[in-house]
Every structure is written in structure tokens, then in C-alpha cells.
């Protein structure tokens, strides 16, 4: 808890405190060259922020309580928080909540209107729920207020469009993307090259590639998808296959339909291929499990978040560094590729008083700004690369490129193409009932994977349950 022992109130850093913080940040901040010019002042360079034409100190004295998850990209932000505090005179307290519990904790706070959590690392799929309950602020009020936002400086439109759109409900923005990812095909380039295989362009090629490599006796499984039940686990994969088969979540009349022929075909593909080529354990695997297995050199190809590079391209964890290739999702029968859309979206809690909401907005603006994105990624000297900064221009910049580009062949291009061309903002049903729908579908998908029930029957059952959920039962 690096924020725990800071004395409250005092925005300007004493020498001792700066040293202490420096230690927390791995002494990185002090070593950076841009610090040297301002070392005589406060030991930190706030010029890049002060060039924004807003009064950063307009909510001085406020406290922002941010609930985040334990992850390196938030650890880096926590390490930089003293800069924000010095810039604005606003105190930030971070609560690191385990990813499995953050939704429940936030929902408890929002629904009881206690305002304990000013902003948090939010799931975009929960934003419709927030909007329906008026728990979170429509952020246009803040983005378009010249007192609060310098549009030319913040350049909100530079943030990936897919992520911005994923955070909109009925045309209004409810969360600002801080970090994100997309699902990509990840394969063993060395093995593919040896057999003359190319990364799959279609779902059928995934199967033929898998067949060519599959040899469980030699601890090589051809293809793998995660099966663990959960709205953010197997329901992060199935919707892409559904999209590739041309399936939709709603019928022409706007009624939810989860058992269309396309859905049955998609689930059938998921079940068939996972049973044919994945380790049996994958039925219960989440993404870290697949990444671990791939890092041990046992998986020929899998489709999951590009940010798994944290594990598979890390020489301390992985035996396949330098042997990895990346590609976009293959096309399905519909000719579409559908990647996932994920970002950690930061909303503003509506239960806060106005001043506190403004302070929260300043914090969000600071965290999502290009400068902070840079300082938490390639300018950050400590450990923990960020694979998901929120702006295209940064991805293309040489400096960022250098820190993450070596994850594997075609890493940057595959990731950017997926995000730019393969996303569909409605790849999952964005309704307030999503949490229940996601859980219900997740159970059904896993039950099919383990063979408890056939895909058609499973989805018919899901249809009944989902209809009940939409009625509020």
C-alpha cells in the first residue's frame, strides 16, 4: 500500500517524502532525464500538465478514492500519484481490490449511494447498469466544460475509438479508458515455420493448423480456448465466435435471442475444437492458465488477450520467448473477424458532491492523458511494461514501440488491426442485465464444453433463462 503512509493534505513534497516515494517507484522517477531540469524545484516535472489551459487546482483540498485492481499498469499509476497531488492539491487514495471482487464492491457502494469510491477500474459492460440506475455521471458534462477540460490538450478523440464507444450508453460517455486489450491469435512461429504453416485466416484453418501440430503424447496441444465460466472468462471468447458466425444477440424486433442457428453453430465449434485439440484442463482454464501453458511450450496456438505478452514474452516466465507470432482473429463463415473490446473504464460516482466530482474528473483526465500514459509506460523506469496504453499515436511512436514491440512477430500490427478493424461494439449485449446474462451464458458454455449438455439444448435452456432475466425475474 504505497499510498497508505502519506501524510494527508500537504500537496507539496518535502524532500524526505520525495525520497520515500522515489523508493516506492523503484527510484525511477528521480532517474528520468526530464526530472533533472526541475530538480531544484520540487523534484518533479509538471510542465507537461501545466501547459493545459485549465486550473488544475480548482478542487484543491479534495480527496479522490480510486478503486483499482492489483496490476502493473495501476501500480505504475499509483507510483506517479504524488505528481498529481502536487499538481492539483487533491489527495488520491488507492484501494487495490482483487479483480474477482471489484465489481461487487463497487456495485455495493454505488447502489447504496455512499460515495466511498469516487472512481474505479470499471468494466465497460457494467456501464449500462450504472446508466440505468443513474449511478455514474454522463461525462460529456466534463469533457465539454472548458473550465474542467482543455480539449486541445486532453485530445480525447485520440483515445481508441472502439474503447470510447464501448464506454458509451445511449450516446453518452460513462467511463474514460485508462488501459485495455483485444483478443488476438497467438501461435508458435517456430513450429509453424518448420511445418510451413501460416497463421489462420479462417476458423477452418485454425483447425487444420491445430491438426498439423497436435501431439499430446509429446506435450503439444494444437489449439486452446479458455473455458472457465464467467461473464469475463469464457464469455470473453464465445461472443467473438458468435460474431464470426454472423450471430447477433438481438433479433430484428430488438428481443434478445441467444439460441439462433448461428449461435448453435458457434458454440458447437467452440466445444468441438476445444475437445479435439486443447488440454482437458482448459475447460476450467482462465487466461493466466493458458498463458502459463503456452509459456511452457505446450500450446501450438490459442486466442486470447494480447496483454498475455506480460507472461509469454517475459524471459523470466516463458520458455518460448522469441518463438511467438501474433495474428488477428480468423474469419468465420460470415466473413467477419470479431476481436474483444476491453478497457478499464474510469467513471465518476454520481453520489459525490460537486467539488468532489470535479476533483475526480481532474484525476481521470490526468490518468488518461497522453503524458501520464507515457509516464506509466515507456517513460516508466521500473518493472512492468504496459501493453495497453490508450492512444494510437503512442502505439505508433518509436519509444513505446521499442518497449513492447519485441513481444513477438507481428505483435503491434496484429494488435492494432484487431482493435482498429475487428471490433464490434455490440459483440456482447450491452444491457443493464448483462451481469446476469453473462453469468448464465457462461455456465451454459462450460456445461457444453464438458459434455454435460449438447450446444442446441444448452442454448435453448439459456434462452428461457435469459428471457426471464430480461423480464426482471
Amino acid at each position: 500500500m504505497s499510498t497508505k503512509d502519506k501524510p494527508p493534505g500537504t500537496p507539496d513534497l518535502s524532500r524526505r517524502k520525495a525520497l520515500k516515494q522515489g523508493a516506492v517507484a523503484g527510484a525511477a522517477v528521480l532517474a528520468a532525464p526530464w526530472v533533472a531540469r526541475f530538480a531544484h524545484a520540487q523534484g518533479m516535472d509538471l510542465g507537461a500538465y501545466q501547459s493545459a489551459k485549465i486550473n488544475w487546482r480548482l478542487a484543491e483540498g479534495q480527496t479522490v478514492n480510486a478503486a483499482v485492481i492489483p496490476a502493473s499498469y495501476f501500480e505504475n499509476l499509483i507510483a506517479l500519484a504524488p505528481e498529481f497531488e502536487a499538481l492539483t492539491g487533491i489527495k488520491v487514495r488507492f484501494d487495490k481490490v482483487p479483480p474477482g471482487q471489484i465489481r461487487q464492491k463497487v456495485v455495493l457502494d454505488l447502489s447504496s449511494k455512499t460515495g466511498n469510491i469516487s472512481t474505479h477500474a470499471g468494466d465497460p459492460m457494467y456501464l449500462p447498469l450504472y446508466a440505468a440506475n443513474k449511478w455514474a455521471e454522463p461525462l460529456e458534462n466534463y469533457l465539454n466544460d472548458p473550465k474542467l477540460t482543455d480539449k486541445a490538450w486532453f485530445k480525447y478523440d485520440d483515445i481508441f475509438e472502439a474503447w470510447r464507444k464501448a464506454n458509451m450508453v445511449d450516446g453518452k460517455t460513462y467511463g474514460i479508458p485508462y488501459d485495455g486489450e483485444m483478443t488476438v491469435q497467438t501461435y508458435r512461429k517456430d513450429l509453424y515455420d518448420a511445418k510451413g504453416l501460416k497463421p489462420a485466416e479462417t476458423l477452418d484453418q485454425i483447425v487444420s493448423n491445430a491438426k498439423a501440430l497436435h501431439d499430446p503424447d509429446k506435450r503439444m496441444w494444437g489449439f486452446c480456448l479458455r473455458g472457465m465460466p464467467g461473464a469475463g472468462q469464457n464469455m470473453y471468447i464465445y461472443p467473438s465466435i458468435l460474431g464470426a458466425y454472423g450471430g447477433k444477440w438481438f433479433d430484428a424486433g430488438g428481443k434478445i435471442r441467444v439460441n439462433s442457428p448461428e449461435a448453435v453453430a458457434a458454440l458447437d465449434w467452440y466445444v468441438t475444437q476445444n475437445n479435439a485439440f486443447a488440454p482437458k484442463a482448459a475447460q476450467n482454464w482462465n487466461w493466466p492458465d493458458i498463458a502459463d501453458a503456452f509459456a511452457q511450450g505446450t500450446i501450438g496456438c490459442y486466442i486470447d488477450g494480447h496483454s498475455a505478452a506480460t507472461v509469454i514474452a517475459n524471459p523470466e516466465r516463458s520458455k518460448v520467448v522469441g518463438k511467438i507470432g501474433f495474428a488477428r482473429w480468423p474469419k468465420g463463415p460470415s466473413g467477419r473477424r470479431v476481436s474483444s473490446i476491453w478497457n478499464w473504464a474510469m467513471p465518476i460516482n454520481s453520489a459525490l458532491p460537486e467539488k468532489a466530482r470535479q476533483a475526480t474528473w481532474l484525476f481521470i483526465q490526468w490518468a488518461a492523458s497522453e503524458e501520464t500514459q507515457a509516464r506509466t509506460s515507456y517513460k516508466f523506469k521500473g518493472p512492468g511494461k504496459r501493453y495497453g496504453v490508450n492512444r494510437l499515436a503512442m502505439w505508433k511512436s518509436g519509444a513505446y514501440n521499442k518497449t513492447i514491440g519485441d513481444a513477438g512477430a507481428n505483435f503491434l500490427q496484429a494488435s492494432l488491426d484487431s482493435l482498429g478493424q475487428d471490433t464490434d461494439v455490440d459483440w456482447r449485449p450491452r444491457v443493464p442485465q448483462w451481469p446476469a446474462i453473462g453469468e448464465t451464458m457462461a455456465k451454459i458454455v462450460q456445461a457444453s464444453l464438458v459434455g454435460q449438455i449438447k450446444p442446441k439444448a444448452a442454448l435453448d435452456d439459456a434462452q428461457t433463462q435469459v428471457e426471464r432475466i430480461m423480464r426482471g425475474g
Binding site: 484442463a281 444491457v431 448483462w434 456445461a447
Partner: protein, 277 residues
């Protein structure tokens, strides 16, 4: 002398219980704002018709009965065994504390990934090396039920062992001497002397283990999340999921109330048994 204790208990449990009960009569579905309000017993009616609730209830019963029985049998056997090797007892007493002390979420994760994963875990490796083949311990519905029961039994048998070891050690030695002279064999001595003497201790340990088994949560949550499908979903997990993943707080409260009533009925019966003993 009783007053402060009782007061604290009333303050900290009674009010929340009343609240829970009130909640179970409301339609609180966070995904459907504006639909809330008093709905009487509707949540309970819905539960009656809910297949998943009944599945969870039936697995909860199996889980509780089987884990408690296994703990009792293994714990007793171990205690009888270790009683005969007094010099090594300390090692077992210390070892017995270890599984109990390990944080449940770590227990679940360790068993799930490092031990039981087919093709990757060490249990699987051992089973292959012994020629027993590879099994999908947590992926196959029946095996998964077996596995979560095994994990709970592994973690808590030491407790029963510790408890019964001490109870056995306290039994009067002269009874055994007399029986030995009578040339009663070991099994008969166990059935006719040890068991009757241990009855109060056994009843107590069964009550204790039962309440803990009924409220098990973290280890299953970490190991299978209630899966595959809903195979290992106990009521606690079901109530949790309904409340916090599906945001149906009224219905979730009703599930919690039902679990409470069932637990109390079972405990009440055992409580009587204890007094009779």
C-alpha cells in the same frame, strides 16, 4: 456476566438477520431499477421452482454429509494409529495444523492448478507414474464433485484427528487392560469400549464440522467456481452468485434465509443429540 456477550450478539447478528429477512421479501434487482418493492413470498416461490436451487441444495447435502463422514472416519483412524506411536506424536500434531492454517483461497488455487490440472499438475503426474492414467479431476462433473469433497476433507481431517486424539488419550487405561485380559480383539475393543466412550466427543465434532461444511465457500470458489456448469455449486456459492454476479439481491437474500433455516434445523437436531449424549 452474560449481559455484555448477549448484547453484542443481539446488536451484531439480530439486526442484520432482520434486515436479511426483510430483503428476501423485496424485489431488489439492481439491473431493473424502478421495479423494486414488497413482493411477499414471491422470491421463495421462485426458488421452489428453480432447478438450480434444488441442484445446489442437493449437492450441499451430499457435500456436507460426505465430507463430515470422511473426516470422521479418517480422523478417527489416524488418531487410533498415531496414539500407538507416542514418540512421533508431536510431528503429527504440528503437521495437522498446517492444512488448517493455509488460507482457503490459496488451498483452492494450489489444488486447482499445481496439483489437479490434468497433464500439468503433480497429482496427475503421480497418477500416471503409478499407471492409474490421467484424469480430469476438476473438469469432469462427477470427478469435480469428488475433488472438492477431497479438498475439504484434506484440509479439515487434521482438525478431527487433533480433537479425537486428545479425547482418546483421556480415556481411562484400565478399561483396556481389562479387555486385553479378556482377549477381546482390537476391533471388538474399539466397538464396545472406545466408541461408546467417545460418543459425546463425536457428536460435538460432527456438529462443528457440519456447520463449517455448510458454510464452505472460498476453496470451492477458487478451485471450480461452482463448475463445471453448476456441478459443484453449493447453496452458499449460489446465493453469492445470485446476489453479487446477477445482482438479484432480494432473491439472493431468500436463498441465504433458506440456508440459515436448514442449518438451524440440522443443528437443532444435533444439539438435542449432544444433550442426550
Amino acid at each position: 456476566m452474560l449481559a455484555p456477550g448477549l448484547l453484542v450478539l443481539v446488536a451484531t447478528t439480530t439486526f442484520p438477520l432482520l434486515y436479511l429477512f426483510w430483503q428476501s421479501t423485496q424485489n431488489i434487482n439492481l439491473a431493473m431499477p424502478g421495479m423494486g418493492g414488497y413482493i411477499g413470498a414471491e422470491n421463495y416461490v421462485r426458488m421452489w421452482e428453480d432447478r438450480r436451487f434444488w441442484a445446489a441444495l442437493s449437492f450441499t447435502s451430499v457435500y456436507t454429509v460426505v465430507t463430515v463422514a470422511l473426516q470422521l472416519v479418517f480422523g478417527m483412524a489416524m488418531a487410533m494409529l498415531i496414539l500407538r506411536i507416542p514418540r512421533a506424536q508431536w510431528a503429527f500434531r504440528v503437521a495437522a495444523i498446517l492444512p488448517i492454517v493455509l488460507a482457503p483461497v490459496v488451498v483452492g488455487l494450489f489444488w486447482r492448478t499445481l496439483m489437479l490440472t490434468p497433464d500439468f499438475g503433480i497429482v496427475d503426474y503421480a497418477s500416471r507414474s503409478l499407471g492409474l492414467g490421467s484424469h480430469n479431476w476438476l473438469g469432469d462433473p462427477d470427478l469435480a464433485r469428488f475433488s472438492v469433497i477431497a479438498i475439504h476433507t484434506w484440509q479439515w481431517t487434521p482438525f478431527v484427528f487433533l480433537y479425537l486424539l486428545a479425547a482418546l488419550a483421556a480415556l481411562p487405561e484400565d478399561l483396556y487392560e481389562a479387555a486385553k485380559i479378556d482377549r477381546a480383539n482390537a476391533w471388538r475393543r474399539f466397538v464396545h469400549i472406545t466408541l461408546p466412550l467417545l460418543r459425546p466427543a463425536i457428536v460435538v465434532v460432527v456438529i462443528l464440522r457440519m456447520t463449517v461444511a455448510l458454510s464452505a465457500f472460498a476453496a470451492i470458489y477458487a478451485a471450480t467456481g461452482g463448475g463445471p456448469g453448476t456441478s459443484t455449486e453449493i447453496i452458499n456459492l449460489y446465493a453469492y452468485r445470485v446476489s453479487f454476479a446477477e445482482l438479484s439481491l432480494g432473491y439472493g437474500a431468500a436463498a441465504a434465509v433458506v440456508l440459515l433455516v436448514i442449518t438451524m434445523v440440522v443443528a437443532g437436531l444435533l444439539f438435542r443429540l449432544r444433550r442426550a449424549a
